[in-house]
C-alpha cells in the first residue's frame, strides 16, 4: 500500500502544472521589439513625448516584450542598431515637420533585415500626437493578428467635479495625456457618446429648472435640449446604431428606466417598480440589464424591453450598484464592506450569464462605473483611492490593469 501511494504521488508531482512557471513561460515566449527613432523634427520635447507614448501603447497591446530604451537611428536604412541585432522586431519611425501645422510620421517594422510593414501618418494638430501613437499600436496589433483593440484609438469622455455643484465635461484619449474641456460652467454630468463615430454626445444639465438631457454635436458645436424630468434625468446607454436610448427619469420623484426613440422622440416606460430602478444597459436588441433595489438592496437584474419578465443576474454580495454588459458577460460593482462607519471597498466582478463563471477584477479602493469597450476586450472604470481619482482600464483576456490618474478634480461618470 505504501509503495502504491508513493508511486501515485510521484506520478502526480511529475504531471502537475505549476501556475507560476506557466505565467513566466508565457512572458518569455513573447517576441521582443525595440523602437528606433529616426525623426527629423526639431522639437525635442515633442519627439520624446511621442516616443514614450508609442512605447507605452506597444506595451498595452501585450504582443511583445517591449524594450523601453530609446535608440536613435537613421530611418531610411533598413539596418538596425547594433544592440537590436538579436531583437525579433524593430519598429523604426521618422517624425517630421509638415509644411503647415502638425507633423507627419513614417513607420516601418523590420524583421530579419526586411521591412514587413510600412505605414505613413499625418496629423494637423501637434497636441494630438498621442493619437498617432495609438493608431500605430492599433495597426501593429492588427498586422500581428492580435485580438481587437479598437478602444485604443477611441476618445474617452468624462465628467469631472471640480467643486461642489461645479463640473466640466472633458474629451480625452485613453491615457488622459490629451484632454480638452468641451463643456464648462455650471453642473453637468453623465456624458455619453451618441454614436460609434463619437461625433456627438449626450449629457445631463442640472442648471435648468429641471434636470435636462442635452445633445452636443462636436462638429457644429450645436447644443439641443431633448427631454427634461423632475428629480433625475440621465442617459444610461445608447444602442449600437444610436437610434434608441435607455434613460433614467423620475417624473414624479420615482426613478425608473425608459426607452427613448431618437427619431420619433417617443418615450416608453420599461420598469415600474416603486423603489429604485436605474442604469439600464442594452443587452442585445430586446433585453436590458439594470440596477434595482427590489430585493431590499441594489442588485443586477435583466428584463425584456417589451416584456415583463425580470431575472436576477447576480447572486453574490449585498450591494451591487453599477453594471455593464457585453455579449454573455456582465461586469458589476460590488460593495465589499457593509459598514457605514468605516471606509468602504468597492470591487468590480465579471460573470457569465450562460455559466457559473465569476471572477473579481479589482482588489482595493473604490472601483465603480464600469463600461465595456465595444469589442468586449476591455473595461474602463473609475477608481478613487487615497484621495486620488483615476480612470482605469482592464484588458480582460490579458489580466492586465492600467491606471491613469487625474491631476485635479474627481471623475463622476464617463464613456468610451
Amino acid at each position: 500500500m505504501k509503495i502504491l501511494i508513493s508511486i501515485l504521488m510521484t506520478i502526480t508531482f511529475i504531471f502537475a502544472s505549476d501556475a507560476t512557471i506557466e505565467v513566466i513561460k508565457k512572458i518569455d515566449s513573447l517576441p521582443s521589439i525595440a523602437v528606433e527613432d529616426g525623426s527629423t523634427h526639431k522639437d525635442e520635447t515633442l519627439k520624446m513625448k511621442f516616443f514614450k507614448s508609442l512605447v507605452a501603447d506597444l506595451n498595452v497591446i501585450s504582443l511583445f516584450n517591449v524594450d523601453r530604451r530609446k535608440f536613435n537611428n537613421d530611418f531610411d536604412t533598413n539596418e538596425v542598431d547594433v544592440e537590436n541585432k538579436n531583437i525579433n522586431y524593430v519598429l523604426k519611425y521618422n517624425l517630421s515637420e509638415n509644411n503647415g501645422p502638425g507633423f507627419s510620421v513614417e513607420m516601418k517594422i523590420i524583421k530579419n533585415n526586411e521591412v514587413i510593414l510600412r505605414k505613413n501618418y499625418k496629423i494637423s494638430n501637434h497636441k494630438k500626437y498621442m493619437f498617432v501613437a495609438h493608431t500605430i499600436a492599433y495597426e501593429v496589433n492588427n498586422f500581428m493578428g492580435g485580438p481587437s483593440i479598437e478602444w485604443i484609438k477611441r476618445k474617452v469622455i468624462f465628467s469631472r467635479v471640480v467643486a461642489p455643484l461645479k463640473s466640466e465635461i472633458v474629451i480625452a484619449d485613453y491615457t488622459l495625456s490629451y484632454q480638452h474641456v468641451v463643456v464648462k460652467g455650471g453642473f453637468n454630468l453623465f456624458p455619453k457618446w451618441s454614436s460609434q463615430k463619437q461625433n456627438g454626445f449626450y449629457y445631463t444639465s442640472l442648471n435648468e429648472t429641471k434636470p435636462t438631457l442635452k445633445h452636443v454635436d462636436t462638429r457644429s458645436a450645436k447644443i439641443t435640449s431633448l427631454i427634461s424630468s423632475e428629480g433625475m434625468m440621465t442617459c444610461s446607454d445608447v444602442n449600437a446604431n444610436g437610434t434608441k436610448l435607455l434613460l433614467t427619469m423620475a417624473p414624479k420623484g420615482q426613478p425608473d428606466i425608459y426607452l427613448y426613440d431618437v427619431k420619433t422622440k417617443k418615450v416608453k416606460r420599461v420598469t415600474k417598480y416603486k423603489g429604485i430602478d436605474v442604469s439600464g444597459q442594452f443587452m442585445g436588441n430586446d433585453r436590458i440589464v439594470f440596477v434595482s433595489n427590489r430585493l431590499g438592496y441594489p442588485n443586477i437584474f435583466s428584463k425584456g424591453l417589451y416584456t415583463n419578465d425580470i431575472e436576477q443576474m447576480v447572486y453574490y454580495g449585498k450591494s451591487n450598484a453599477s453594471c455593464t454588459a457585453n455579449g454573455e458577460y456582465i461586469v458589476y460593482k460590488a460593495r465589499e464592506s457593509s459598514n457605514a462607519f468605516s471606509r468602504n471597498t468597492f470591487n468590480l466582478h465579471i460573470i457569465s450569464t450562460k455559466t457559473d463563471f465569476i471572477r473579481r477584477l479589482t482588489a482595493s479602493g473604490v472601483n465603480e462605473f464600469p463600461r465595456f469597450s465595444n469589442d468586449g476586450d476591455a473595461v474602463i472604470f473609475i477608481k478613487n483611492y487615497k484621495n486620488q481619482s483615476s480612470i482605469g482600464i482592464i484588458r480582460l483576456n490579458h489580466n492586465k490593469n492600467y491606471l491613469f490618474p487625474l491631476k485635479y478634480g474627481k471623475v463622476q461618470a464617463m464613456d468610451w
Binding site: 502638425g102 505613413n120 493619437f131 461642489p164 468641451v182 455650471g186 458645436a221 426613478p255 461618470a413
Partner: protein, 187 residues
C-alpha cells in the same frame, strides 16, 4: 449698497462679454497627402455652457430683489436639513419633528415661495444609484410635507448625489452630515 449692486452689474456684464466662444476651425480642412492617412479629424470646437445661475439685476429692481433674496435666505436657515441612515431613505421620528417645524414655516411666512428639495448622499459612489437614493430621500421629505398640508405643486425636487458635500473629512460624522435633504426656496 447701491455701489455694490452697480459693481456686480458691471462684473456680470464683463463676464458675459467674455463668455461667447466661437468654435475653432475643424481639422478636416487640412489637405491630405497621397500616402499618409489623416489620424485625427475631430474638430477642436469648445462648447461653452453659460452658467444660468448668473443673475442680472436691473437697477430699478435692486432694492426689491435684494430684500426678497435676504428673506428667502433667512427663512432657509430656519429649516434644518433632514438626515438619513446609511443606504436608507426612510424618515425617523427625530427627523419627522424637524419636517413638521419646517412645514409650519412653509405654510406661514414662506407660503409665497416655491420649495426645492435637494437630495444628497455621502461619498460612496457617483453612479446613478446614488443619485436615485438622493432623490428618494427628497421624495420622502416631499411626502411628509404634503402630509403636513404643504401644497404639492409648490414642491420640486433634485438629486445631487455625492457632488454637493457640506464637509469632506473621511469620518463617519462627515458622511452622516452629507446624507441629507436640504430645503431651498425659489421666488
Amino acid at each position: 449698497m447701491k455701489k455694490v449692486i452697480i459693481s456686480s452689474v458691471a462684473v456680470a456684464l464683463l463676464l458675459l462679454t467674455g463668455c461667447s466662444d466661437s468654435p475653432s476651425p475643424s481639422d478636416s480642412s487640412i489637405n491630405q497627402s497621397k500616402n499618409a492617412s489623416l489620424v485625427e479629424n475631430v474638430s477642436d470646437d469648445s462648447v461653452s455652457v453659460i452658467d444660468d445661475s448668473v443673475n442680472i439685476i436691473a437697477e430699478n429692481d435692486n432694492v426689491i430683489a435684494d430684500s426678497s433674496e435676504m428673506n428667502m435666505a433667512s427663512l432657509e436657515k430656519k429649516m434644518s436639513s433632514i438626515h438619513f441612515a446609511f443606504d436608507e431613505y426612510s424618515i425617523d421620528s427625530q427627523m419627522q419633528s424637524k419636517i413638521s417645524q419646517s412645514a409650519k414655516i412653509l405654510n406661514s411666512v414662506a407660503n409665497r415661495f416655491i420649495i426645492k428639495l435637494e437630495g444628497n448622499c455621502d461619498e460612496w459612489g457617483s453612479d446613478e444609484y446614488n443619485f436615485a437614493l438622493g432623490l428618494k430621500r427628497a421624495d420622502a421629505v416631499k411626502k411628509a410635507l404634503i402630509a403636513e398640508g404643504v401644497k404639492t405643486n409648490r414642491i420640486t425636487m433634485v438629486s445631487y448625489g455625492e457632488s454637493n458635500p457640506t464637509c469632506s473629512d473621511k469620518s463617519q460624522d462627515c458622511w452622516a452630515k452629507n446624507r441629507r435633504v436640504d430645503f431651498k426656496l425659489l421666488p
